[in-house]
Symmetry: C3
C-alpha cells in the first residue's frame, strides 16, 4: 500500500508519512474526550453570538497588538456586532496566527463557512448565520456532540455554590489563586468566611475553613484543585504558630512584609496540598505566569512571563506529599525538559497539557515529542482546551491531535516499528485514558 493518492487535504504533502499521519489523526479524532481544564461557565457554556468567540482575549489582544486601540475594543456599551466588525478589520494582520486558524476552523465546522478568510465583506453574513445557530435551543448539545466532548472540567472560585448545572458533565475544580495569593484582600477573606461559615483568624480556623471548602467541592463531584503561580514562588512548609501570627495581622488589616506575605502564601498552599492529600484530589499546578505585565492591555490580555523559573522550587512540596498527584503545566517551553525529567522521576508529578504561550504548534510539537519518549505513558495528560466557550474545544483539540498524530507516526510507527494500533492506543491513553485514571472520572 505504497501508492500515493493525492490527499485532498494535503495536495502537496509527501506520500507515506502523510497518509500514515492521516490515518492516525482520523482515529484519534474518533475519540470522545474529557476536557481536563477549561474556564467554561456551566450556566453559559456555549456562545450566544460570534462576539463571544471573537471578543475573547485570544482575538482582542492580538487585534490590539496589531494596532487596534483598546478604546475601540472595550468601549462602554459597545454592542457585540459592532465589536466583531471592528475586530474583523484587523484580521488581515492576524491571519497567519494559529489563533485565527482556530476561528476559521470553528466557523467552517459549526457555521458552514466556506470562504478562505473572514473579511470586512463576508463577516456579517457569518455573524448572522452564527447567531441563528447559536440561538437554537440545542446549541449547547450540538457543540458538545460535534466536538465529541463527554465531560468538561471547570475552574471554580472557592466560594462558587456549584448549583444549577450537571456536575457530571461540567466537573467542578477548585481554583485557589485567591486563597494563596490574595488573602490580603478583605474581599477574599470575607468570601472565605462566608463560604466556610468560619470566621478565619488564625491557622486553625484557616485550615478548618479550607477543609469546609474542600468538603463542599468534593460533595459536588469536584475532581481537582488547581492554581496558577508566578515564577518566583517556592512553596515551603510553614510552622502553624508562625502562620497564625501572620494571619492574625492580616485579618486586622495590618501591612505584611514581603517575607510575611510569602509565609502566608506558603501556609495557604501547604494547607491546600494537605486537603488534596486527605481527599485524594490531584493538585494542578500551572507554573510561571506574571500577571498584569502589560498594564494597558485589553481584559485578560495583560499577562506574560519571566522564563527564569525552575521546578526545583517545588522540591519540598513534591517530597512532602507523595500521595498527592501534581499535574504540572509550564508556561514556557524552556521549562518543558524539567517537566519531562521531574515526571520521569517523581511518582507524583505528571505532565499536563500545553498551556497558553506554549499552546502553539511549534512548541506543542517539541514538548510532545520529548514527553512521549521519556515520561511513563500513564503519567501524561495530553491536552486541555483552557476554553471559555464550548466552541473552542474542537479546533484546539484538533490542532493537538494533528501534532500527536505526526509524532506518533514519525517517532513510534516509523521510528520504532510500532503498529498503527499500538500508536493509536498510546495516543488515546494520553488524550483520555490518563485523564480517567488520574482524575478518577
Amino acid at each position: 500500500m505504497n501508492e500515493f493518492v493525492a490527499d485532498i487535504d494535503n495536495p502537496d504533502g509527501n506520500t507515506m508519512t502523510t497518509s500514515l499521519e492521516k490515518r492516525l489523526f482520523d482515529e484519534l479524532e474518533q475519540l470522545v474526550l474529557i476536557d481536563p481544564h477549561t474556564h467554561i461557565n456551566p450556566h453559559e457554556a456555549p456562545s450566544k453570538t460570534l462576539a463571544d468567540i471573537m471578543g475573547y482575549h485570544y482575538y482582542t489582544e492580538l487585534a490590539h497588538s496589531a494596532g487596534l486601540e483598546k478604546s475601540q475594543i472595550e468601549e462602554d456599551g459597545l454592542d457585540p456586532k459592532t465589536k466583531v466588525g471592528r475586530l474583523v478589520e484587523k484580521l488581515s494582520d492576524l491571519d497567519n496566527t494559529i489563533q485565527v486558524s482556530w476561528l476559521l476552523e470553528m466557523c467552517r465546522e459549526f457555521f458552514g463557512f466556506t470562504d478562505d478568510r473572514i473579511t470586512p465583506d463576508n463577516w456579517e453574513g457569518l455573524y448572522d448565520t452564527a447567531l441563528a445557530k447559536m440561538s437554537e435551543e440545542s446549541w449547547e448539545q450540538q457543540v458538545l456532540e460535534k466536538s465529541k466532548l463527554e465531560k468538561v472540567f471547570l475552574t471554580n472560585d472557592f466560594d462558587d455554590k456549584l448549583e444549577g448545572f450537571d456536575t457530571n458533565i461540567y466537573v467542578p475544580c477548585l481554583r485557589t489563586d485567591d486563597l494563596v495569593f490574595h488573602f490580603l484582600k478583605k474581599s477574599v477573606r470575607n468570601r472565605l468566611n462566608e463560604a466556610s461559615g468560619i470566621e478565619v483568624g488564625d491557622s486553625s480556623t484557616f485550615r478548618a475553613a479550607i477543609a469546609k471548602i474542600f468538603s463542599h467541592f468534593v460533595e459536588k463531584n469536584a475532581k481537582a484543585c488547581a492554581i496558577s503561580i508566578p515564577p518566583n514562588f517556592s512553596p515551603q512548609k510553614v510552622d502553624a504558630g508562625s502562620a497564625a501570627a501572620v494571619i492574625k495581622r492580616t485579618v486586622k488589616g495590618q501591612r505584611l512584609t514581603s517575607t510575611e506575605q510569602e509565609m502566608l502564601s506558603s501556609f495557604a498552599f501547604w494547607t491546600l496540598a494537605e486537603q488534596c492529600d486527605e481527599h485524594g484530589l490531584p493538585f494542578d499546578l500551572m507554573i510561571g505566569v506574571n500577571r498584569r505585565v502589560y498594564e494597558g492591555g485589553v481584559y485578560q490580555g495583560q499577562d506574560l512571563f519571566d522564563k527564569r523559573v525552575s521546578l526545583l522550587q517545588y522540591k519540598q512540596l513534591f517530597n512532602a506529599f507523595p500521595n498527592v498527584t501534581f499535574p504540572v503545566s509550564v508556561l514556557g517551553s524552556t521549562s518543558n525538559q524539567e517537566l519531562v525529567s521531574y515526571s520521569w522521576i517523581f511518582p507524583n508529578v505528571v505532565t499536563n497539557g500545553h498551556w497558553w504561550y506554549s499552546n502553539i504548534p511549534t512548541y506543542i510539537e517539541v514538548d510532545t515529542r520529548s514527553r512521549l519518549e521519556a515520561v511513563p505513558r500513564n503519567k501524561q495528560i495530553g491536552y486541555y482546551s483552557d476554553m471559555y466557550k464550548l466552541e473552542f474545544a474542537l479546533p484546539k483539540f484538533r490542532m493537538y491531535r494533528r501534532v500527536l498524530a505526526k509524532v506518533l507516526a514519525s517517532d513510534f510507527v516509523t521510528g520504532r516499528g510500532w503498529t498503527e494500533t499500538q500508536a493509536i492506543d498510546f495516543g488515546k491513553q494520553v488524550l483520555r485514558g490518563n485523564v480517567e485514571t488520574i482524575f478518577k472520572v
Copy 2:
C-alpha cells in the same frame, strides 16, 4: 532501492515538499531587500580583498577556536594575502560550519569559484580573482545589484558626522551603547560635548545634548536608534534630580557605586526612549550580550552570553513608551518564546531578525516557526544581515530565505492549505514589507 527522481538542486531530496519549497524560495529570492541592520562603513562598503571577508571575526574567531594562535591571525603588519593563507590552512577544521558555507557561497556567486572547498591548493587563485573583481570601479554597485539590495541600514556612533555618503542608500542609525554604558569614560563624554556643542554636566544638559544628537541624525535621514544590552540590565525611570547628582559626580571623574552606575545607565536609556518617542524613531533593542567573556580572543571574537535574562526586565520601559516601537533581538534562542509572547501582547514590541549566536539554521528555524504562527504578521522583521562588508548579505539572506521557504511550505501551504501566493506574500511582508512600515523607509 534508491530510485527517485533527481531534482537538480536537491539530488537526494524528497520530491514534493522540496519542489514546493523551491518554488517559494525562488520567489522570495526575487525580492529586492532593505537590510535593516548592518555594520557597513558607507565609505568602504564592499571588500577590497578576500582578507576583508576572511579577516572578519566570523572566520578569525573560528580559526582561533580550532587551534590557530591569535598571534598568527593578528600579527602586526601582517599583509592581507598572508593572513588569508593562514586562515585557509584552518578551513578543513571549519568546513562544517554555516559560516564557511556563507564564504563558499560568496565565492561562487561573486568570483565564479567552482571547487568544492577552499584549500591550500586553490586559494591563491581565488584570492587573485577576487582582488581583480573587487578592484573594479563598479564593484560596490555590482554587489548591491547581485544581492538585490536597495538600502542598507548602518550602525553609526553618536558623533558620526554622517557626511560623504548617500543616506538614502546607506541609512543612518544611531548606536547608543556608549551613551548608556560608557558615559563613565572621559573620551565618551568629550565626544558627546563636542558632537552636541553642549557641555554636559547635569540631567538638563544631558537631555539637551541627546536631543541635539537626535536632531542631527533625523536631519540626516536616520531611521532607527539602536543599542546592545547585557543580560543583567533593566531600564527604569530615574528621577531627574537623582540623575543630575550622579552625572555631576561622573563629570568630575569621581567613582560611582554600582547602584549609581545603574541609575546613570537607566537615565541615559530613558532619555533615548524619550527622544525616540519625540521623533517617531523605532528603538532597536539587542538584548543579552556579555562583552569580553573570552579575554584572549581575537578582535570582535570575545563576546558571549549568559542565557539567564528575561524581557520582564523591560516591563517598565514597554509600558512607559506605548508610542515607541521596539524591534527586539535576543541573543539566545531560549529567549525566543518570550519575544514571541511579548510581541503577541505588547503593541509596541516587534520581533527583529536572528541575531549572532541565534543566526544559525537550527535556531532560525524553530524561532521562525514560532514567530510566523503566533505574532501578528505586521509585527515581525524577518531578517537583517548584521554584515561588515556588502558581500555578506547575499549568503546570509539566502540562508534565511531557505528556512523561511521551508516553514512557509510546511506550516502554511501544506499545513493550513494556504495558496503559494498567500505564502509568498507573507514571506515578502516579513522580509521587506514590515521593514518599510516599521522604519518608515
Copy 3:
C-alpha cells in the same frame, strides 16, 4: 513524482531521505568506537543476569515513577530474578520510553529475543537465555566485539588503585566530585591522605596530595579528569593563604560557613585544573545536576536539575587555563546553545556528548543539529554511553547514530550538497576521530 520504493526497515518511511539516512547510518555503524565516558567497573564489566540490566536506575526509577513501590524494588535480600519479574510487571506503563527501547534492542541483539514486548508471559525465558549467554566465559569479549567497542573510559574514584584490569581497554579517568564537593567529610579526607601518602592540612599539602593522585592516574594510562557540578557553582581562583585557613578548619572538623565551603570547593577545583594543565589531561565538566532532589527515590534515581545555570559561571576558569581542554556536558538542552557558542569561541572548550536528561532523541537531535553547523568539526565529542554495564553501549550508540545519520543526511548531503563520503567522514570524526585527538588515545 510521488513514486517510492518500499524500504524494508521503514515500510512507511519516505523514500529518499530514509534511503540516504540508512546508507549513512549503516556506514557509521561499521565504526569501531572508543567510548569516552562510562561508569563501567572493569572487574565486572558485562552483566551477569538480566537483573544487572533491568535493575539499573534507568528502569527502577521509571518503574517507581509509574507506581511501583520502592520497597518492591529495593527489598532486602531480593533475588535478581524476582526483582526482574516485578519490574517486568511495570513495563507496560513504560514501553513508550526510549530507555525501554534500549532494553528491547539489547535483548534482540544479544539474546535473540524476537517478541514485540517483554511481558509477564515471556520474560522468564528471556531471563534464562540471557543468563546462559552471560555465563559464557567469553561474554565480555562477545559484547565488546558485537558493540564494536575498542576502548571504554571509566569513572574512577580518586583512591582507586587501578589494578587488575587492562588499562588500555578500560581507560582510567579521575572522578573528582568527592575532592571538590565532599572534602568536608572525614571519610573523604582519610581516603585522600591514604591514597596520597600525605597528611593534608593546608593548601600546600592539599596540592601535593592532588599531585600524587594525578601522578598515579597518569602512570596508569588515565586520559581525563572529570567532575559533575551543581548549577550554582562558579569556580574562582582562591588565594592559597585563604584556602589554607579554610582547609585547616576543615581538617579540625570545624563547621564552615557557606562562603568558606565555596572557597574550599573553588580551591580544590582550581588545583585540579592546574594538575590537568601540568599533565595535559582534558578536564570533563558535567554541568548542572542537583543531587538528591527526590529524597524518596530509588538508588541513583533521585537526581534532577535546576535549568537556571550559565557557562558564564566558568568564565574565569576558561580564561585562566588556555592549555587545558574542557569537554563540557550540559544536563539541560536549554544550555546547549551556550555550549555551542562557548565551543565556537573558546579554543579550550569542546562539546561533549548528550548527557542524561538530554540523552533522549528529541534533545539529541536539536543539540546535534546546532553543534554540527556551528562548532568547528574538531571540537565536538559526539557521544558517550555513560553505561554501567557493557550491554548498554550498543543501543545507546545506535540511538545516537540514527540521529547523527538523519542530521548529516538532511543538513549536509541534502542541505549543502556534500557527498555521502564527506558526510560519513564528518560523522566518524565526531564519533571517534575527535575522541582520539582530544584524549590522545
